[in-house]
């Protein structure tokens, strides 16, 4: 019988350190929530975390929590709860899963770290640079917890980032200071902000170096590793601990390169992933590609937590630039230039676009981009339909057949 091939994937040793990092991060938040101090701020994943840390807030990111709901395959059960109170199944399934789980009093933190609930916020701060859904999401919790909600309203579909954009966003960032001083109960200290911005920049640079190791042949890590290894870049930026743990990880990956160790055995094809991961299928997808000697080694998603513009000398302006220059904020032309660059740097054979049903903001295949990029670069692409969290939107069999057929196609091209 034509058996499915079993594959061995190499574990990353530093993953244990990263797990500890995440555990300590959540335990610290939980302890603070119990005690009522330090104060807790909720922040969007590419929101102004540095400012919040400069005020001494512990920062909690609901998106990471919802990704956990996805990865533990709990999300699909809770999404209908949010649908029932008026949040459509067509909108962000991070939002619907997270609110649904909250309504049911459930969190994946309980099983992972024995934490009973998400930490109560003293303030919630969003940036609409990624989407409008985060604003609705935070407002819902703001009302639930009777906590103030602050926000930065960003431009979207930005072509060239101009001074006008930067000035306007920097002003909005500065405008956060007076209300945050009140909530934090302490005056703003620009030196503290410089310190957190510097740490955030350092974390971002390390994270970039980590992701860039995948340019090696064979690549020492996969996108699927990246989606879990990126925890500290998201929740820990602006802290020394994130910097420390990434140094360990980078050293291990560099060692792998020296030894010529690939994350995928006998790497034959190199794939770029555009769009969100399917959280509930990380391991299945990783297996699927490994079994085809294919490494999905670079992605728009993991690279979205690189903020090279951050500059402690000019914290507000540089934050405004870093959070506006992001891929998700940009117009298609800028996005395509970015992807072309990535394809080249990582020596990519093919692109996979994940068209996530509930996140148009991260699904870049809907306005002709795959066709344009293929024309420009000659690199073929495949679009798979799915979702980040809602497994009702997924056909595993179709994904598998599509991916296998795509790799066959790449094989044929090579002859």
């Amino acid at each position: 019988m034509a058996e499915e091939k079993k594959v061995v994937r190499k574990k990353i040793a530093a993953a244990a350190d990263l797990n500890n990092f995440m555990r300590d991060y959540y335990l610290e938040l939980d302890a603070a929530a119990q005690k009522g101090s330090p104060k807790i701020a909720w922040c969007t994943s590419v929101g102004p975390a540095e400012i919040l840390r400069a005020f001494g807030f512990l920062v909690y990111f609901p998106e990471t929590h919802s990704a956990m709901l996805g990865a533990t395959r709990m999300a699909t059960e809770f999404i209908p709860e949010a649908n029932a109170i008026g949040y459509s199944p067509d909108i962000c399934s991070y939002l619907t899963a997270d609110i649904g789980a909250f309504l049911k009093g459930v969190t994946p933190l309980e099983k992972a770290f024995n934490i009973k609930s998400v930490p109560k916020p003293d303030v919630l701060v969003f940036n609409t640079n990624q989407c409008r859904d985060v604003q609705d999401w935070f407002n819902w919790y703001g009302e639930k917890f009777d906590a103030p909600v602050l926000g930065v309203h960003t431009y979207r579909g930005v072509g060239e980032v101009t001074d006008k954009h930067i000035v306007s966003i920097a002003k909005q960032l500065e405008a956060l200071i007076p209300p945050l001083e009140k909530i934090a109960g302490r005056p703003f200290d620009i030196e503290e902000l410089r310190r957190t911005v510097a740490l955030s920049r350092e974390c971002s640079e390390l994270w970039k170096k980590i992701l860039d190791t995948a340019a090696a042949r064979p690549a020492p890590l996969t996108f699927f590793d990246g989606t879990t290894l990126m925890g500290p870049a998201v929740v820990g930026r602006g802290t020394q601990k994130a910097v420390d743990v990434y140094k360990i990880l980078l050293a291990e990956l560099e060692e792998r390169i020296r030894k010529g160790e690939g994350a995928v055995e006998n790497e034959k094809f190199r794939i770029y992933w555009d769009g969100m991961p399917v959280w509930g299928r990380l391991s299945a997808h990783s297996q699927l590609f490994s079994s085809l000697n294919t490494n999905v080694l670079a992605s728009t998603y993991c690279n979205s937590w690189i903020f090279s513009a951050l500059d402690p000398k000019d914290p507000f302006t540089s934050m405004a630039r870093a959070y506006t220059e992001l891929f998700i904020v940009r117009a298609d032309e800028a996005k395509e230039a970015y992807i072309r660059n990535m394809l080249n740097f990582f020596s990519v054979d093919g692109i996979i676009y994940h068209d996530a049903k509930t996140c148009p903001n991260n699904s870049n295949c809907r306005y002709g981009m795959p066709q344009r990029l293929e024309k420009q670069t000659g690199i073929p692409s495949l679009t798979i339909n799915g979702d980040l969290n809602d497994l009702r939107m997924i056909s595993d069999e179709q994904t598998k057949t599509n991916v296998e057929a795509f790799i066959e196609q790449l094989q044929e091209r090579r002859g």
Binding site: A2, E397, T401, E404, E408
Partner: protein
Amino acid sequence: MTPAAPVYVGTDVGASRTKVAVLDASKRLVGWEVRPSGIDFTVTARQCLEQALAMAGASEEQIAGAVSTGYGRKNVDYARDTRTEIGCHAAGCYHYFPTAITIIDIGGQDNKVIKLDAAGRRTSFKMNRKCAAGTGAFLEEMAARLAIPLEGMNALAARSTDMVKLGSFCTVFSATEVLENIRHGKKIEDIVKGVFFSVIRRVVEMDAMTAEVVMTGGVVAHNPIIVQMMEDLIGRPIRVPEKPQLTGAIGAALYAMSAASETVTLNPMEEPNG
């Protein structure tokens, strides 16, 4: 040692039908069988194999290569390798039409649009999404709504003089539209033709119809009117292989043959096939 008259077997286990094709060493189709896939794919594939071999006048010992494809490709116990249905449809069609082609395959549960360059290399492919619209499943649902046998749809549509246009994308919405048209006294043949038109509209939305267009699949095999309607829609003639339902299985048999010949090259001590 390979027997004197080798045959190559391709098995396409689709979600709705299982197809087996047997080719001789000169790539002639010498045996085939089509059956509902049922719930035990392994057994169905075996039964199809036996029938197809009997038709070819060949025995199992003569099988020099066997590849399976389709939804149930991993359940075929006599297959030596698997290929995706996309690869197999491409190979099967290129065998009949060795030029740059756009293949439209309309199956029981999914549609595919596959593009090949003049050398037969695949340049792109699309499979339909999580929806019955545009597939055989849609036709089955509509036949049930109209209380007519599935096999009768083609003949009915051929009698239509004033096709009803169904506007909706969704199978459930389309069913409502059909009921609406019945209430308004529309003729059944006009509604059935509209149902077929809805299928081909869903397909042309999947990709641009460039180069020569080839149509395959069970739905096309049983409803040749679909080909005519598609020709009218795109304004060009369409080519259909001899046995459109078997293209995937034939492609799989061709893969089995090329795999076997590669083995021969690797083992020069063995007698070449055919």
